[in-house]
């Protein structure tokens, strides 16, 4: 027989178990849920085809909107923070200091604790009356309160989201002109360099403006002794769609799990060819330049991988809020995965739950595509 036939047969023979999984355990449920999403389906009754009813109801469901808001707020804050933290940690763990393997183990420990235990443990630590966390964080809280008081006292009568918009716009403009100014510098156009400096100053001003619109005196009080899981009010209180204190508690808890990402970064870091660093040393680069121009680009595929995993993960968060807050004060920690679970198993609306799940899937795919698109110029694949 021909080689290609031999290969095809052998290939599919090797694929056999996975194909079975794809068809039965993933494909069939996937397609079935698409069908259910167009039905009204409660357990013990047959599915009844209702067309796009579930989807139109979805568009008007305020609780769904709330849960999307919660999930997106969590993702927007936790993912960048997590990536930053994991990266910093990996850079630290990559140094040749004595006992570094001890640290590596310590920072991975949180992943060895089952999520049920983690949820219960943290729920207890967050207790404002007898939880240990407020005690330990008290000095940091006081310091933060001191630093932020001037911002809280100035209260411009502007909505908080204006501050966010200002920061984003100015930051984007600054970033654009920064890369532009590199090119123009080489061409000798000094004024572009000045323009980017001006934009940088305006950016800092926008940040300060944002802080003043976002912070109120009530935040200063709360920072020193937060209510955590019991407090459903947004922090900072000037920004109405900011994460609530309960959500911040969950974000804080998720920071505890950066060990896994850090280890992956660490592994990739050790792949970076030493010659690059040596060449940079010859050129007289300091450690920041080396990190920014060599290390980060070399591990950028992993960063992208982690961002995508983070997006997928954020939309599937379930166990911790389920055990710790049950949806939180006023649905402020009701993640989309919890919303789906509730609709399916509490209210027995399996069709509606499937529709929500599908919308969720499309959102995830969309965000992932977006991330891939944005990353195309930024991610460097060595040897590809």
């Amino acid at each position: 027989m021909k080689l290609s036939t031999y290969r095809t047969i052998t290939g599919y023979a090797f694929m056999a178990p996975w194909l079975a999984a794809l068809i039965f355990l993933i494909g069939y449920p996937f397609v079935a849920s698409m069908y259910f999403s167009t039905c009204d389906y409660s357990p013990l009754k047959e599915p009844l085809f209702v067309g796009v009813d579930n989807y139109t109801e979805l568009m008007q469901d305020t609780v769904f909107r709330q849960s999307m808001l919660v999930t997106i707020a969590f993702a927007v804050v936790a993912i960048p923070l997590g990536v930053l933290l994991a990266l910093t940690l990996a850079l630290f763990l990559n140094t040749r200091i004595r006992g570094v393997s001890f640290y590596r183990v310590i920072y991975y420990l949180p992943h060895l604790v089952p999520s049920v235990v983690v949820a219960i443990l943290w729920m207890w630590m967050f207790n404002p009356q007898f939880g240990i966390l407020n005690v330990v964080l008290a000095p940091f809280g006081k310091a933060a309160a001191y630093l932020l008081t001037p911002f809280a006292l100035i209260n411009p009568p502007v909505p908080g989201w204006l501050g966010l918009v200002a920061v984003i716009v100015i930051f984007a403009a600054w970033w654009k002109t920064r890369s532009l100014s590199q090119d123009y510098l080489r061409a000798g156009h000094e004024r572009f360099k000045r323009a980017s400096t001006v934009l940088a100053i305006v950016f800092v001003a926008a940040v300060l403006f944002a802080l003043t619109t976002w912070l109120n005196p009530i935040d200063i009080r709360k920072i020193q002794s937060p209510g955590w899981l019991t407090d459903g009010n947004p922090f900072p209180s000037g920004l109405s769609f900011a994460p609530s204190w309960a959500l911040w508690a969950l974000i804080y808890m998720s920071m505890w799990g950066v060990g896994q990402m850090a280890i992956i970064y660490l592994a990739k870091l050790q792949d970076v060819p030493v010659e690059l660093y040596e060449a940079a040393d010859l050129d007289g680069a300091n450690w920041w330049q080396k990190t920014w121009h060599i290390t980060l680009p070399m591990i950028s595929p992993v960063i992208l991988f982690n961002v995508i995993m983070g997006i997928i993960g954020a939309f599937q968060v379930f166990t911790e809020p389920y055990i710790m807050t049950g949806g939180g004060p006023e649905d402020r920690t009701r993640f989309v995965a919890m919303f789906i679970y509730d609709q399916a198993f509490e209210y027995q609306r399996l069709g509606y739950a499937s529709a929500v799940a599908w919308v969720l899937f499309l959102v995830i795919v969309g965000l992932t595509m977006l991330a891939l698109r944005i990353s195309r110029e930024r991610v460097y694949y060595a040897g590809k």
């Binding site: 090797f14 200091i97 310590i106 049920v116 005690v135 379930f318 399996l350 499937s354």
Partner: protein
């Protein structure tokens, strides 16, 4: 922060150590708290510790009663006033201890399972003339008539031993009672109050010595509550099956992706990656219905059959790793007439031990920690895994025994930590070699 060959210089090393140390403290704090709490008595887990010693280890009290040294608990503060003094009396008639604490007599409290066996035993203990009891507002003692009126209504004759008056130096008076380590096996605080078989006394604060108290008995108590051996066995059974399944199936499928050029390989791989993007809630319901139609709900099968068919993440991992292996070795073996499976077994697997170890470890961790799967598919409590058993600690109406829960959690997490320590070397190296090229 570069991986050069030279060790980092000390003026960099010191601040790095500092920062890592501070971070490590924050990371370890919850675990440390979990372990520390597992050795404390329940009532001390419900308040914030006032100093470092209290945070690390529980407080105990020790004192001398009738010449013997006892570990005691502070049952309650005795605040006698001149108008309402308290007395220590010796009863001249026999009665049940429970008559001092409950408004109805032994007939009643035996009819109702409101009290568990321990409570009943305490209440049934006969108070005899050799014992002394504390007469207070609830069981007042009439000095003139020499009669004590019990809370249950009965009156018994008694003789006065001491009258307790407010101490001259204004010290606090505490009713202390002997404490035994087995007391920790309780759902509520203060359940040893009223146990007349134990030594007790009313003492001023100065005579009570504060010590530390660690209660390793929390562990057997916790494990007794959950059906530990059975749950452990179930969990290990599942772990064994899923680890074997994942390893075998992922190796086979990844080999196919890496080394066999068959038609449609690229598309299949992209589909594989895409499946990682499907959120679990999308398939949770139809999957349940699928298992129901096959008739496997209530068995372990839905929890481990999937592992034998492959796992997208592990397939991806192993494929990346296999792609990094030297191609010539495989070509040489092919020339020698090896079939694909033999190639896999004799050449690829020995070279891939670290990556395989990593897959095994991740799968073990995943199955050990899994809680949603057993929750949905298992119905019979004899099948429950450790994660479900842990859940059963927090009872309906509150009253979580934190100390026992933390002990159980430590036991739950410890095997994973130990396993991790043993495999750490292969782990780090293998992650490096999977070459995550995105």
């Amino acid at each position: 922060m570069t991986s050069s060959d030279k060790p980092t210089r000390w003026y960099f090393a010191l601040p790095i150590h500092g920062i890592l140390l501070v971070g490590a403290v924050f990371f370890v704090l919850p675990l440390f708290w979990m372990i520390a709490t597992s050795f404390k008595p329940l009532e001390q887990t419900l308040k914030v510790p006032e100093n470092l010693t209290e945070a690390v280890i529980g407080t105990g009290w020790r004192t001398t009663i009738d010449g013997r040294v006892y570990e005691v608990t502070l049952e309650r503060q005795i605040v006698p006033s001149d108008s309402e003094p308290d007395w220590i009396v010796r009863p001249l008639e026999q009665f049940s201890a429970g008559e001092m604490t409950h408004p109805f007599g032994p007939d009643t409290w035996h009819k109702y399972p409101i009290f568990n066996a321990d409570e009943l035993r305490r209440m049934d203990t006969q108070v005899t003339p050799e014992m002394k009891v504390l007469a207070d507002k609830t069981n007042p003692f009439d000095e003139r008539r020499g009669v004590m009126k019990l809370f249950s209504g009965r009156e018994v004759r008694a003789e006065l031993v001491t009258a307790i008056r407010p101490p001259a130096d204004g010290q606090k008076l505490w009713l202390v009672r002997e404490w035994k380590p087995s007391d920790t096996d309780t759902k509520e605080v203060g359940s040893t109050s009223g146990d007349v078989t134990r030594a007790w006394a009313v003492l001023p604060e100065a005579q009570i010595e504060k010590t530390i108290r660690a209660i390793p008995e929390n562990y057997p108590a916790a494990l007794k509550r959950i059906n530990f051996v059975r749950s452990l066995f179930n969990t290990l059974f599942l772990c064994l099956l899923t680890v074997c399944g994942s390893v075998i199936s992922s190796i086979i499928v990844a080999y196919g992706f890496a080394f066999i050029e068959f038609k449609g390989r690229e598309i299949l791989f992209i589909i594989t990656l895409a499946t990682m993007m499907i959120p679990f809630p999308v398939i949770i319901v139809p999957m349940y219905l699928l298992w129901r139609d096959i008739g496997w709900i209530g068995t372990f099968k839905p929890l481990w059959i999937g592992a034998w068919l492959g796992n997208a993440f592990f397939i991806f991992l192993l494929r990346q790793f296999f792609l990094g292996l030297p191609k010539d070795l495989l070509d040489a073996a092919r020339i020698d007439g090896c079939s694909e499976l033999e190639l896999l077994w004799h050449v690829v697997i020995p070279l891939s031990k670290p990556a395989i170890a990593m897959v095994a470890l991740f799968q073990f961790l995943g199955t050990w920690k899994d809680f949603m799967g057993p929750l949905i598919y298992l119905n019979n409590s004899s099948q429950f895994t450790l994660s479900l058993a842990l859940q059963s600690f927090s009872s309906e109406h509150g009253g979580t025994p934190w100390h026992l829960l933390m002990a159980a959690s430590t036991v739950f997490s410890l095997p994973l930590i130990i396993l991790f320590f043993f495999t750490i070397k292969t782990f780090i190296r293998s992650v490096a070699m999977t070459g995550m090229k995105g």
